[in-house]
């Protein structure tokens, strides 16, 4: 495995913290009425996408669900333009026409942001198909929520990916609940990754609260997929602190359960590692934290100062 350098540790910490602060700010702007519609926060799940990010190559592709803000930040996209999209402004990644659930950056090989549960799975499989068709040795990472693992098209895609040995790494972000229904109440049998076994797809469970476990598993799985052996499934066990979306009553889980996960907070895991290895002091980490708060605040300011789309934009981008 590639060694995690000092700067890697700090990069991991910064990205995870940036995602958290960004999402907290999003919640605030939602409460103030600047963000509308559906808004799905990534708080608690930061180790998943940042762990995978550490193993990604520039020309690899990514496609994910509607819980996508953190994914975009991890892909190195500009928080200003993400926040501008959340607030429906012309400077947003989708020019204000996509919103929280539908954001894309083709130049960064980020293919959304998809609002329909499960739909991104055949799409990601098709992007992987293109990598194979073009013979470019890149792979597509396709994220799947635990809720989508009961959706038929996911298994159609698994079948095709395995049949045609497509370079796709499926990453199940199992945050325990599909909206308000726990995995136990939605999925027969245990271990979602095992559903790939019927199609000859290997997989494993990964501790998604520990970024170092994610990095290790994602690197190994990524190499497997890139070598042409076909798809692979990582079932990353994680937890979302906030509700499914902003209007979630959270009646379906206990506070004790939430607190238990918060006690093994993924950002604290990284912080502890950094302090233990004497990579940076508490004071230095606080400084990083303050810088991130400023960066996120300026993203929010940028968004709120941006213009709403021109009325003419209603009719553009329907056809190329």
């Amino acid at each position: 495995m590639k060694k995690i350098t000092k700067s890697d540790h700090l990069k991991i910490y910064s990205y995870m913290l940036k995602i958290r602060r960004f999402e907290e700010r999003s919640a605030q702007l939602y409460g103030m009425g600047h963000i509308g519609g559906f808004c799905h926060l990534y708080i608690g799940q930061e180790a998943v996408v940042v762990g995978v990010l550490m193993t990604i190559k520039k020309n690899d592709s990514v496609v994910t669900t509607y819980r996508d803000h953190g994914h975009m930040i991890a892909r190195g996209l500009d928080p200003k333009k993400i926040m501008a999209e959340l607030t429906g402004r012309a400077d947003g990644y989708s020019a204000g026409k996509g919103g929280s659930m539908h954001m894309f950056s083709k130049e960064n090989n980020f293919y959304g942001g998809h609002g329909i549960v499960g739909a991104q799975v055949p799409i990601g499989t098709g992007i992987a198909f293109t990598h194979k068709y073009n013979g470019d040795k890149n792979i597509c990472r396709t994220y799947i929520g635990d809720g989508a693992m009961n959706n038929g098209q996911v298994f159609e895609a698994f079948n095709l990916a395995s049949l045609w040995k497509l370079p796709v790494l499926y990453i199940i972000e199992n945050n325990k609940y599909g909206m308000g229904t726990s995995v136990e109440r939605a999925a027969a049998g245990s271990d979602l990754y095992k559903r790939g076994e019927a199609f000859g797809i290997k997989g494993e469970i990964v501790d998604g609260m520990n970024v170092y476990s994610v990095i290790k598993a994602a690197e190994k799985a990524g190499e497997y997929v890139r070598s042409g052996k076909g798809p692979y499934i990582l079932e990353v066990q994680t937890y979302r602190y906030r509700g499914h979306s902003m209007s979630d009553p959270a009646k379906y889980r206990t506070k004790a359960e939430l607190d238990e996960y918060k006690n093994s907070d993924p950002i604290e895991v990284v912080k502890d590692e950094i302090i233990k290895k004497k990579i940076a002091s508490n004071k230095e980490l606080d400084k990083i934290g303050k810088e991130i708060i400023e960066e996120v605040k300026s993203a929010a300011d940028f968004a709120l100062e941006s213009n709403f789309p021109d009325n003419n934009e209603l009719y553009t981008d329907v056809y190329l």
């Binding site: 947003g92 204000g96 996509g98 539908h102 998809h114 739909a119 992987a128 293109t130 095709l160």
Partner: protein
């Protein structure tokens, strides 16, 4: 006693077949279940078994004879060896019948008005071949183009449209999929997002309902949702609408379903000529295109352009027949029926009809329709779809808004019955718009 063996119908839409091989000779004893001949249709080659026992008295067609109508006697079996009866005579009748069949084909061709600026090939080809040839021509030009779907490769196409493509382009670009429409449609959409140009064949558009979320929510909307970043150059094609007696779940017309969706373009060819021009436009377009073929039209022969770059633009209707008395707006298979109706109305009522073949359902050529109505002052829409919120409904809206003062009669829509498609051939005929229905509607708008 002699028993006639008839040319069998091997598929719901087969009207004639070719005798590729005799497996028996005259005088030979055959038992029930023995294979006696190989018959080739435009879709498949099948073996014909004897159902009765006896001696082959006479083979009425030679190996290699083509276009033998369904239910025509092809052989006579006798219970006695060496008996010779009416066999020879029947053979003569068959030859006559063959001539009639050929004539019928030429007659159909008159319904395809060549465009003035198009150089036409002398050789007539079928709609099926026109579609296949266009796919092949575009695949030769652009390596990004590939085709996938159920039975498109080794089987050579469920309706033989993709015949020969696997041999020419190989399995990388001509891809058999499992029966998983949602999966392979979503996969193709992803491939298009990433820059390839997939042609997705639905065995029929009825099965596209399994995949309609990917077509509408993913293919049609992503360009808009991404602020213009991610386009989806893809063609969804296959037979749409009724075939013959395949009943409710396999006979639906989806023209207005897809034409309603911003982000999609929808084409409906009616002849080999426009099938080539429209399909080429579809494959070369950077947007998702729904290409609605018709199974019954696959065997329709006609001229095509000899230009391998011949395209018909989106949103351009074709005036298939010029006239001054009443406008018929139609598309796909109903073009042929409308033209037949126009002949009857000319002969019996001296009405000179203008028949507009829409070709492109989204975008729709409002201008051609409006100009025609301004000239004829009467309009009838003819289509196979259900009547509610159909393409015809949209045409009615366009006309009332833009040519209200020119109308001399209320507009009449001719559609299929507002019920699921029945199986029985008698009810099926009643369900579908017939030439008589069109004649009746045109008479009505002329107060005849």
């Amino acid at each position: 006693m002699s028993i006639e063996i008839l040319m069998p119908a091997l598929s719901p839409t087969m009207t004639e077949g070719n005798l590729t091989k005799w497996l028996v000779t005259e005088g030979q004893l055959v038992k029930a279940g023995d294979v006696i001949a190989e018959i080739e249709t435009d879709k498949a080659t099948m073996e014909v078994e004897a159902v009765d026992e006896g001696f082959v008295e006479k083979l009425l067609f030679k190996e290699g004879d083509v276009n033998i109508p369904v239910n025509k006697p092809i052989a006579i079996i006798s219970d006695q060896q060496g008996s010779k009866s009416k066999g020879t005579k029947q053979s003569e009748v068959s030859v006559e019948e063959k001539k009639t069949t050929q004539k019928k084909e030429v007659k159909q061709n008159e319904n395809q008005l060549p465009k003035e600026d198009v150089v036409l090939n002398d050789e007539h080809i079928t709609m099926r071949e026109a579609i296949r040839d266009t796919i092949a021509e575009e695949m030769r030009k652009d390596k990004k183009v590939f085709i996938l779907g159920e039975e498109v490769a080794e089987y050579q196409g469920a309706y033989k449209v993709t015949q020969g493509l696997l041999e020419e382009f190989g399995e990388k670009r001509v891809i058999d999929t499992p029966i998983s429409e949602q999966g392979f449609t979503g996969l193709a959409v992803g491939a298009a997002f990433k820059g390839l140009i997939p042609i997705v064949e639905f065995m029929t558009f009825n099965f596209s309902m399994q995949a309609i979320d990917q077509i509408i929510n993913s293919a049609a909307k992503t360009l808009y949702m991404s602020g213009g970043q991610i386009n989806c150059p893809i063609v969804f094609r296959g037979p749409n609408g009724a075939a013959a007696q395949v009943a409710a779940q396999h006979s639906q017309d989806f023209s207005s379903w897809y034409a309603q969706v911003p982000g999609l373009k929808v084409l409906a060819p009616s002849t080999p000529l426009n099938a080539k021009g429209l399909l080429r436009s579809a494959i070369r377009d950077p947007n998702p295109v729904i290409f609605l073929e018709n199974e019954i039209l696959y065997g329709l022969k006609g001229e095509v352009s000899s230009d391998n770059d011949f395209t018909i633009p989106f949103g351009k209707a074709n005036i298939a027949k010029e006239g001054s008395d009443t406008t018929i707006v139609t598309y796909s298979i109903m073009l042929q029926k409308s033209l037949e109706a126009a002949k009857i109305l000319k002969n019996e009522f001296n009405l000179d009809l203008e028949v507009i073949d829409l070709q492109s359902l989204r975008p729709l050529d409002s201008e051609t329709i409006i100009n025609s109505v301004k000239k004829t002052n009467r309009i009838v829409t003819v289509e196979e779809s259900w009547p509610v919120a159909s393409i015809g409904s949209e045409v009615v809206n366009i006309v009332q808004k833009n040519a209200f003062d020119y109308l001399d009669a209320p507009i009449i829509k001719v559609n299929s019955a507002n019920v699921p498609m029945p199986y029985s051939s008698s009810l099926e005929k009643l369900y579908l718009p017939q030439i008589d229905d069109i004649v009746k509607a045109v008479k009505e708008v002329n107060y005849i």
